[in-house]
Point group: C2
Chain length 148, copies 2
């Protein structure tokens, strides 16, 4: 059967953003190069470069060019709110496009979806990067395994 089976999901772009923050959070003491992070996770370095660049524009990381350059967190782990990160990475946080739907003026679904999305984001707003790193030691070990 060739049915198209759908799924609600975050883009990898956003997940990669969080992965970068997790990496930098476990290596706060130094700057890390994008290639190092890409190697750790075994993902596209080019793609990750843009992710990192965007994290920079959003103020989450600061970067140093040139030899021995790299990236580091621009804020403390405790200060980085996950909901805010997702909001700034997933530009278009509307669940459906009602643009060309003729019942939009009377549709009760839009309200329900907005409330649901609000609840979703509210949960994420309750987490900081530090909260996601409770198992910091294990995290560091896993990551270093990937780099090596």
């Amino acid at each position: 059967m060739g049915v198209c089976w759908p799924g609600m999901h975050l883009t990898r772009y956003t997940d990669y953003s969080l992965r970068v923050l997790l990496y930098l959070g476990t290596h706060e003491e130094r700057v890390c190069s994008v290639s190092e992070i890409a190697r750790a996770y075994d993902i596209s370095q080019n793609h990750l470069m843009k992710v990192v660049h965007n994290l920079g524009r959003a103020g989450y990381v600061s970067s140093v060019r040139g030899r021995l350059g790299g990236v580091r967190l621009a804020q403390a782990c405790e200060e980085i709110n996950i909901g805010a990160v997702v909001r700034s990475m997933e530009e278009d946080l509307q669940l459906v496009d009602c643009g060309s739907c003729l019942i939009a003026p009377a549709c009760g679904l839009t309200g329900a979806l907005n409330k649901a999305l609000y609840a979703f984001m509210t949960v994420l707003d309750g987490y900081t990067l530090a909260d996601l790193m409770k198992q910091r030691g294990k995290l560091a070990r896993l990551l270093d395994l990937g780099v090596a």
Copy 2:
């Protein structure tokens, strides 16, 4: 700039499912053909046929073949839970694919996302089809406008 701008969203497939239910809900007194519904919303009849078929398999609508056939709700509007509908239409309700991520065993993000998704679905679980049809009169008028 050719950046890829992402978005978390429900598929149209799921939205179409809800649209069908809304249509049938406002025309409870008779069976409606798929072509009629497709015309109302100005969307692909073939696609909608599969949506409807699936709604049937999930028990939300019952269909009648042959001439003068069509589809109708198999349950009362008050009995059709929106969360349940979304769950049965969006097969893969996991937000990210952690399959090939090396930090999965120590990642705190998965838990946060699961909690967020749970909150999202819980809100939808609080709605029935009837709740989405508060403006039933206006809804019917808009829909008939599309069919004509």
